[in-house]
């Protein structure tokens, strides 16, 4: 079979990179980067994941079809995350009741449709 055999050296190199990534991500967690903390953490995790997919899972050596399948899985996950967040992040918080102006009431008159 025309299968690409990845060498153990490459596997160990990837392992070393993953260990380094783990160490960096733990260290970075103790540094105050404000809103960037989550970006850094997820960024490192994404790099680690990419290494696992490309080398441990032989993604780099797979057919175009397999690569398309992998990409579409993540693309669909992105659809779910992005569009749902599109709702949550563009909501305006409800003003509390005390801040609302009093609602005008309809005057009830004889012959009218009545108050709602």
């Amino acid at each position: 079979m025309s299968e690409h055999i990845v060498s153990p050296k490459l596997y160990f190199a990837v392992f070393a990179a993953l260990m380094l990534g783990t160490a960096i991500t733990v260290w970075a967690a103790y540094v105050d980067l404000g809103r960037l903390n989550i970006v850094v953490a997820l960024g490192i995790a994404t790099i680690k994941m990419t290494l696992v997919i490309l080398f441990f899972m032989h993604g780099k050596y797979s057919s175009r079809r397999t690569k398309l399948i992998i990409a579409s899985g993540f693309f669909w996950l992105a659809i779910m995350l992005v569009l749902t967040l599109a709702d949550y992040t563009t909501r305006h918080p409800e003003p509390s009741r005390s801040q609302l102006a009093p609602v005008p009431t309809l005057q009830s008159e004889a012959g009218s449709l009545g108050s709602v």
Partner: protein
């Protein structure tokens, strides 16, 4: 062997006799059926199971319609009414509509249509059926031990905290059933990629196969999300975890986002296979190649993809952000375009065709009309302003029944009739079948058209009671439902009858193009006597005079269209 025609089998089927050996008589005994890995037998196992759940859902529907004959609601209590519409929805959607065409017709036909002996994973196919049964058992248990009153939509926190009905077994059952869908979709995708016969390129595939490939994409990408959503709702109910509970800071709208992320594409799971059936029926009974093959194939994929980015149109009145609502509304208009492409292409196929009104064609034509109405009314609902008025009214109920019954079920019945000769080797009684199709069409419209009006006038859905001024329309609807029921019962009777007493069909009674019509009726267990080699284009009525189109000439060589 001539390369200008599909190969004939070495033992051509004698026209007035069933073939000596075929998949139904290859082996005998209950074990040979319950442990079969033959995709055709599994399709029949599914046929029996989905029909059973159709009955269950139909019983609930009948009770609903009878209850709604009078305002005041005298048949059942309000709590029971809630259970009736919930269980009707759960049974029909998860256990009938979603599996129906893929698991029955898809399972039976896809390997034959692509020239293979079976699906890629026959044992997983059988496993899918058993998983379906286990899921169904849990749901039936739920129905029997207190029922379900949350709506098939299981909105939290009613379903996860406050409902006193048997929610937990039901969500377990639907969760399990999801794996049946996932495995079927996985099987179809791999099969279409790797099991095609020599010469069967992607653009020679029947559109039925394209439709099922697109449906399988939705199975794979959408079903896992409903699985996790119901799992979370179930965990909340069992262990008081707070995901969707406002008391803990959880958000019920999050449930709705997650739920509809699957459940909207699910409606495309229900309609795409039916569209695939129609794409097979129309060219056959117009005796013309289908118009715009490439566009119909692409539109199936387009519907599957765009269908994933419109879900929050079910949530316009929940308080979601206006910007998000605008985006979802716009995208919902976009998803109508590929559907419209199909309707235009089917119509163009009919134009100047040599049309006959056999039963499958009656269902096909009915589909085109009713699906168009259902689809257009969907656009009314996609309009933000109109939806404020129409949301949660009978307008919505009518809209989705036009698509799911007028569309999907007519597609299902049309397909069952169209391929019945291939599945059983026998013909159903044609005139009785036409009468049944017309009965069904009339009954359907009488049931559901008044509901558009009711909804527009403001009658809410999922209400056990209504003001007296709505009674006339409700009575019309119930009357229609009884005629519709007759339309369903007739095929069940004569199709069963025909299995024993129907005329022997022969290989290609219509006649139609497609590899399935070149093999015996019923087919061998391995489908073909020898592996077909394909070098002709699909729906090639113009170049195959033996199929009966006046003016057809013998095949000219046609360059290969495309490759995987």
């Amino acid at each position: 062997m001539s390369s200008t025609q599909p190969p004939l089998s070495p033992q051509p089927q004698v026209e007035n006799q069933l073939p000596r050996e075929h998949y139904l008589n290859a082996t005998y005994g209950i074990r040979s059926w319950l442990l079969t890995t033959d995709h055709k037998r599994i399709a029949l196992l599914y046929l029996i199971s989905v029909t059973f759940f159709f009955f269950i859902g139909g019983i609930f529907a009948s009770l609903i319609r009878i209850h709604l004959l009078t305002p005041g609601g005298y048949l059942v209590t309000p709590e029971t009414y809630n259970k009736l519409f919930t269980m009707h929805g759960v049974a029909m959607i998860f256990f009938f509509l979603i599996p129906s065409i893929p698991a029955v017709l898809g399972n039976f036909l896809i390997p034959i249509m692509i020239g293979a002996k079976d699906l890629a994973f026959p044992k997983i196919n059988l496993l899918s059926w058993y998983i379906y049964l286990v899921g169904g058992a849990f749901v039936l248990y739920s129905f029997a031990t207190g029922g379900l009153d949350t709506g098939w939509t299981f909105y939290t926190p009613l379903s996860s905290i406050y409902s006193n009905s048997a929610v937990t077994p039901a969500v377990i059952g639907i969760f399990i059933n999801g794996f049946s869908s996932i495995l079927t979709g996985l099987n179809f995708i791999i099969t279409v990629h790797t099991m095609r016969a020599p010469g069967m390129t992607w653009f020679r595939l029947p559109l039925f196969v394209w439709a099922h490939y697109a449906t399988s994409l939705i199975f794979i990408l959408g079903t896992p999300v409903i699985a996790i959503t119901l799992l979370l709702a179930g965990l909340e109910r069992m262990f008081h975890m707070g995901f969707f509970n406002p008391v803990y800071g959880g958000d019920p709208i999050l449930f709705q986002h997650l739920f509809w992320f699957y459940s909207h594409p699910a409606v495309y799971i229900m309609i795409l296979p039916a569209m695939g059936v129609i794409s097979e029926i129309i060219p056959t009974f117009a005796r013309k190649p289908i118009f715009g093959y490439d566009f119909i194939a692409a539109s199936s994929i387009g519907i599957a993809v765009i269908g994933f980015i419109v879900w929050a149109h079910h949530m316009f009145v929940t308080g979601q952000a206006t910007y998000a609502a605008l985006a979802f509304s716009f995208l919902s208009y976009l998803v109508a375009i590929p559907s419209a492409v199909k309707v235009f292409n089917w119509t163009a196929t009919l134009y100047k065709g040599s049309i006959s009104f056999d039963t499958p064609m009656l269902y096909g034509l009915g589909f085109i009309g009713l699906f168009t109405i259902g689809g257009l009314t969907g656009l009314f609902l996609a309009c933000l302003g109109l939806d404020i008025h129409l949301h949660d009214t009978y307008f919505v109920v009518a809209h989705f029944h036009y698509i799911m019954v007028g569309g999907a079920i007519m597609g299902y019945l049309g397909g069952i009739h169209f391929w019945w000769p291939k599945i059983t080797g026998r013909l159903y009684p044609e005139y009785l079948a036409r009468i049944a199709a017309i009965t069904l069409f009339v009954g359907f419209n009488l049931t559901f058209f008044p509901q558009f009006i009711l909804g527009y006038l403001g009658m809410p859905r999922r209400y056990h009671d209504y003001p007296p001024e709505y009674q006339v329309l409700n009575v019309m609807s119930t009357a229609g439902a009884s005629i519709l029921a007759l339309g369903y019962l007739l095929p069940m009777i004569y199709l069963t009858w025909s299995m024993r007493y129907g005329k022997v069909a022969g290989k290609n009674p219509w006649p139609a193009t497609g590899l399935e019509w070149t093999t015996d009726s019923p087919p061998l267990t391995e489908n073909f006597h020898e592996t077909p080699v394909v070098d002709w284009e699909p729906y090639d009525f113009l170049h195959r005079p033996e199929l009966g189109l006046l003016g057809a000439t013998s095949k000219k060589p046609v360059p290969a269209h495309g490759d995987d």
